[in-house]
Symmetry: C4
Subunit: 259 residues, 4 copies
């Protein structure tokens, strides 16, 4: 089979579209942000991306109907006042091998290039290894001019973070994107790295919405963040009571399922 | 070499054939069911599938003659009263890498599509992690109409199981099958997951035979199930006698070889 | 690059040649036997096989000159009294991934098929997990007629061994060889599996030389076998003296280097 | 995407160029040497090599601008007195799989062959597993005549080292280079193998500069070597004081970042 199979669901003409990528990763920040953005705009399904570099897996919906794991491209027609329509890339997985990451990213970029994309935002989490109260948004970009612009939106460009660079889709969409003549920015929300973090996703989306002049309603993302906070608090309390540690196991496991 | 090599053994014309897949997996339920179905119909060899995504291995028969590991497609000409001939896919292994799973499944589906297949049943086990007295048959399907039909045959569509979706051939034949325009159902027999389970395979086959209006003789499958029960019972008894635990090792190991 | 690159060193016409394969494996029995056969005939270099499925490695000779790891095909022109010239395949490695095993074997078989090969002998070790005084030679074959013929030469075809089949080149050359219309036999010398075993290699070669009517001088192979016996004996003695166990480390390590 | 993508940055005509390879490896000796050589000549960017066999990673510069991991080819136009221009290959990674190593090396050699390269020097470290005061330079070569020449420059060709051959790019550029009709030498600086070793890189470069009649200034490489020595000394002192071992952790970690 083709290594990466892109099924177009609808033929659309887009005005100078900007690609926004958010796939599963650290704290699921990128995926939470991209999925939330897609739902809020709302963006409509444009193409489904299947690949042998994803796990050989189908999900089963509550109604019993299966769905092959995929990445998904949605589009949003901006009002006439905006020069840019949007493309949102989300999905179940990143490629599960290094080679798969390259192959999928390159094919999606090639496809998006054909749709007229010249600009990419990638959304991700940055694991701090400690609890983060007020997540900052760190940045990296393909061009110095982009760095300067992003600083005006409060994005932090640290001399030391991320020290080892960016690994995975959020970095690769910028790195390979340059080879397609695209400019791009990675927005990384600080997060503990211990569980899914809607709070960090919100911080990332707030920057993005300012940059793209989108007015988003963050109510339900904030609700999700409070739910996580509540569970984290419970775990914290349970850990304070060493004689009852076994009672803390259940809520801790719940954390992975919220997203 | 070709990634997947399909050798046709006999050219046949089939009437609107239905593909039934059962490969090694949880409790070997799918393979037990598919092999038993093939022998009972009986289905005749149609094609042998070799692949570099299988282990580099040959089996040696009791007569000393080797056989390269493979998957195997058999066909059964239904009586004129039935609108559907059957194809049964069994074999020694699933693809041993994620990419191999995709490649093999896609090629087999392509081949079956050429034979006129529009409908697929995949047979599998569902590991409950505990002993199962009366295995239920869980389901998943490509289309909601299929879900509704299967419910009439007692198939259970749970909101929560299988929570992580289906991994491997039984899911992939449905997920990729949809891309070939096929409709399909996965039938999963509950099983402990600890050893091969002819009892669960029988439950799955009973549903399938009702759906396809086949009359199968389950005598020898039931005999195999009783043999497993007997060994499991021995292990259980041995475990009740902690002072003689070492004596339980031998029968436990036997379990893997029955199939 | 090509997955498998075969460089022909000399163009030769061969009379109905038989391929004999012996690559590194259990006890290095196959490689010891094939290399010894090549040197005794002696067979001359015919082709070198490079592949990205071998390790990315060069060996450095005592003179400081490097050599890329490879498999190597040698030929021997039989006297007019024999209907079969011989091809001997040896080398540094088997393919290091399952897919690599398939690719390399298929390409070598294709190449040998072009040279007129219809018959293959593969040489290997069979690990018994215990010391073997008088190694028997076990067999497996592509056709029942071959099994019958081999029995006359004392080859043992066991109902139970090898239970899990043959894994690696020695099995694959037979399994894929059948797809090229070749007949073949695998000769497996019993061995402990703990170290290289020239004694077992000699047992295998003796059968082969009878089958192919070759008269080989086994003097130096027997010398190598005695050297191994001597070291094994030293280790055994050292292990009998628990107070000096540390002194046994050095000779034990030596075992791996004899071959 | 292409497995290996070579982007030419400048079209140049080179006079009988010699390729010098130094990629990350043991003690980072090869990379330190190649990078230092490139900076001292100085060599100018010629081509960037991307590959799906590198990690899916971008580095972020201090200015916030990203760069996809790559290998990089630089060129140096020698003065008229020298018959050979130089090509220097450095980079972030070697291929991360055996197959990737082969693919990348073969493509780079093919590209360099097109530029007229007939001669290769590969630079590497040789791990001794003990501290090395005065690193010798060990050698291996494609041809015996090269061995003889190198001996005159003090390069050591040991009968026993490297016993297991050379693994990775430094060996493969010679081994595959021979298939391109290239002659080559590997220069291996002795090193402990415990941390990056500019001292060993200097020893290697000194030999190379004598062979190629280059006059290099080693001042800053020596400064780097002294810095490493100073840190190693600190660690050594800390280890002598068992009661304060925890204080030694920080400087030890620093070692990996100097290069």
């Amino acid at each position: 089979m083709q290594d990466v199979l892109i099924r177009t669901l609808e033929k659309v003409e887009l005005r100078d579209p900007i690609l926004i990528e958010g796939l599963p990763g650290v704290g699921n920040v990128g995926k939470l942000a991209a999925d939330y953005l897609r739902d809020q705009l709302p963006a409509k399904p444009l193409a489904t991306i299947y690949s042998k570099f994803f796990p050989p897996q189908v999900y089963v919906g509550e109604n019993g109907v299966i769905r092959l794991v995929s990445n998904d491209l949605s589009y949003w027609k901006a009002p006439a006042s905006s020069p840019h329509d949007l493309l949102v890339l989300g999905g179940d997985y990143q490629g599960i091998s290094p080679e798969g990451q390259y192959e999928i990213t390159e094919r999606v970029l090639d496809y998006c290039s054909g749709l007229g994309v010249h600009e990419v935002f990638t959304l991700a989490g940055f694991a701090q290894g400690r609890m983060v109260e007020e997540p900052k948004v760190l940045g990296a970009a393909t061009h110095l001019s982009r760095v300067e612009t992003m600083k005006k939106f409060g994005v932090v460009f640290s001399r030391t973070d991320p020290g080892g660079g960016l690994i995975g889709a959020s970095g690769l969409f910028l790195g390979l994107g340059r080879l397609f003549g695209m400019e791009g920015v990675c927005l990384m929300g600080e997060t503990s790295g211990y569980f899914v973090d809607p709070h960090s996703a919100e911080a990332v989306l707030k920057v993005l919405s300012q940059v793209l002049l989108l007015s988003l309603d963050f109510t339900s993302l904030e609700a999700k963040a409070r739910e996580i906070d509540r569970i984290a608090q419970k775990i914290h309390e349970a850990e304070q009571r060493p004689s009852e540690t076994s009672g803390a196991a259940a809520p801790r496991e719940d954390l992975g399922y919220i997203g």
